[in-house]
């Protein structure tokens, strides 16, 4: 237990002293996860509402498949992206393997199902009469969907928080396609993995505390926006 306390103190020290390496890693983690979360939201919220508001054969099967993908192991997504982006792979020409972009690509694939699935359940949770009323008053389908999303904004923002959490906390994918390169693709989680493999438990725990602090800040920001 003393170890945990020391780690906490160490985390405070690292934050207070603005340790340049730790700050750099933290910024990178944040940038990568926020980027993947934003891209995913922009794609998947409309996609989720499209699925929700349309009837088509196999819809429930599709939703089941999407929900199954919630538990896609990060290393498997990592392997897939690795094979895709490796220079001998189909997208090898782009030279993206072992870059932050590769991590973003992987994270987007990882959190897409969650974002789509949770958007669908967010929309299922609202009162259907809202949409019907809007349509009867002459709103187009798109306008009605936007209205529905506005109604469901709390649940949708919760989905965004979930996705951000999954993105910033995953490690298998980042190591596999990012390579944990110092000063380039090292993120908080891959640094934790490396430091703990070096036996520096205190620093690892301290980095963990920083990661949680970061998540707290993002959650507070989103919560504040929700209330506005």
């Amino acid at each position: 237990m003393v170890e945990l306390w020391h780690a906490f103190i160490k985390a405070l020290e690292l934050i207070a002293s603005l340790d340049s390496e730790v700050m750099e890693i933290t910024r990178r983690s944040l940038a990568i996860s926020v980027t993947s979360c934003s891209i995913t939201s922009l794609i998947c919220v409309p996609l989720g509402s499209l699925i929700h508001f349309n009837r088509f054969p196999g819809k429930s099967v599709l939703i089941n498949v999407i929900q199954t993908f919630y538990s896609f192991p990060t290393v498997v997504v990592g392997l897939f992206v690795f094979v895709l982006l490796s220079r001998t792979g189909p997208l090898g020409e782009l030279g993206l393997l072992f870059t932050p972009v590769a991590i973003v690509v992987g994270q987007v694939l990882l959190i897409m199902p969650i974002m789509i699935g949770l958007t669908i359940s967010a929309l299922s949770g609202i009162d259907g009469s809202v949409v019907e009323t809007a349509m009867s008053l002459g709103a187009s389908r798109t306008q009605a969907s936007i209205l529905a999303l506005k109604e469901a904004r709390f649940a949708v923002l919760t989905a965004v928080i979930m996705c951000f959490g999954r993105a910033i906390s995953e490690v298998g994918l980042s190591i596999m396609v990012g390579g944990n390169i110092k000063g380039f693709t090292r993120t908080l989680t891959t640094a934790i993995s490396l430091e703990s493999s070096k036996g520096d438990i205190e620093l690892s725990l301290a980095l963990g505390v920083i990661l949680l602090t970061l998540a707290l800040m993002v959650n507070l920001l989103i919560g504040w926006l929700q209330r506005r």
């Binding site: 944040l30 072992f98 870059t99 932050p100 390169i181 926006l225």
Partner: protein, 283 residues
């Protein structure tokens, strides 16, 4: 809703623009290096020196020798630094690597708990392994990751007259870690077990371990580190020029001296012995 995303995006972009480039700079070289060299901290010193001298970004990938070859074959790195002569020669012979250049060596050690339950102290490596397998008087932690150290371990089992597969399946005493050298040492120490390690990583981790060297003599324990540039004929995208610079750098008198002195101040003895370009035969 959209506001949230825009703000998140802006935050993300400013955060990234601050220091961490999202896109790679023009001149980069990627090197996959054996975990034992990384865990000793040697690359932490060599990397900035190389970057300063050649004005390029050197990206070090922490990879066991097994995965390093795989990265090389897939053209995902420009050079590899490994320690498995047979597979290195095959890598070059198969046309994936240009040339195998040894640049440093040290020795493997068999380490274990100070009380040495299997009583292997002072034996030859082959006899020590034999006794471990026959008595099972202590656990043995294997890297289990096709790294250079793991391949050496299998070689010693072979030389001791065992099939590695049989040893693997002979009971709970044989533990496969599946991790880098550093983590494997920490695991062996936690479990009070024997393991095979390179002398460099052992010295660098000594302070964190409750294990002592028990077997350190034997021709089979020689451990040679080599650098190989990935062949541009197989992989047109690799940067052979910078890879050659790296080879010249590692074998330059200045860096050879640095490698030889690395760790003397901290551990009282050097972790590596420089051997630029020379092929070492088992003495």
């Amino acid at each position: 809703m959209l506001g949230v995303m825009v703000i998140l995006f802006v935050v993300g972009c400013t955060a990234s623009a601050a220091r961490a480039p999202l896109f790679p700079a023009a001149e980069r070289i990627r090197v996959a290096t054996t975990t034992s060299l990384y865990d000793t901290g040697l690359w932490g010193h060599l990397e900035p020196m190389f970057e300063k001298k050649y004005k390029v970004e050197l990206d070090i990938l922490y990879a066991g020798t097994g995965i390093a070859f795989e990265y090389g074959k897939r053209c995902d790195v420009d050079a590899i630094v490994t320690h498995d002569k047979a597979r290195e020669e095959k890598f070059v012979a198969d046309g994936y690597g240009v040339n195998r250049i040894p640049f440093a060596y040290n020795h493997f050690l068999i380490i274990g708990p100070p009380e040495d339950p299997a009583n292997v102290k002072g034996l030859s490596p082959e006899e020590a392994f034999k006794r471990l397998a026959e008595t099972k008087a202590g656990s043995f932690v294997s890297r289990g990751d096709e790294s250079g150290t793991h391949v050496k371990e299998k070689e010693i089992w072979g030389a001791a007259g065992f099939e590695h597969e049989t040893v693997r399946k002979s009971g709970a005493w044989y533990i496969e870690a599946g991790r880098g050298m550093g983590p494997t040492l920490l695991m062996a120490s936690e479990k009070n077990a024997y393991t095979l390690t390179d002398a460099g990583t052992f010295l660098a981790y000594k302070g964190k371990l409750d294990l002592v060297p028990l077997v350190d003599k034997g021709a089979i324990l020689l451990n040679v580190y080599s650098v190989i540039a990935v062949n541009p004929e197989k992989c047109p995208k690799v940067n052979i020029e910078i890879a050659n610079n790296l080879i010249n750098f590692l074998t330059s008198p200045e860096i050879q001296k640095f490698i030889g002195e690395y760790g003397v101040a901290e551990y009282g003895t050097g972790l590596f012995i420089p051997c630029a370009g020379a092929e070492l035969e088992i003495q």
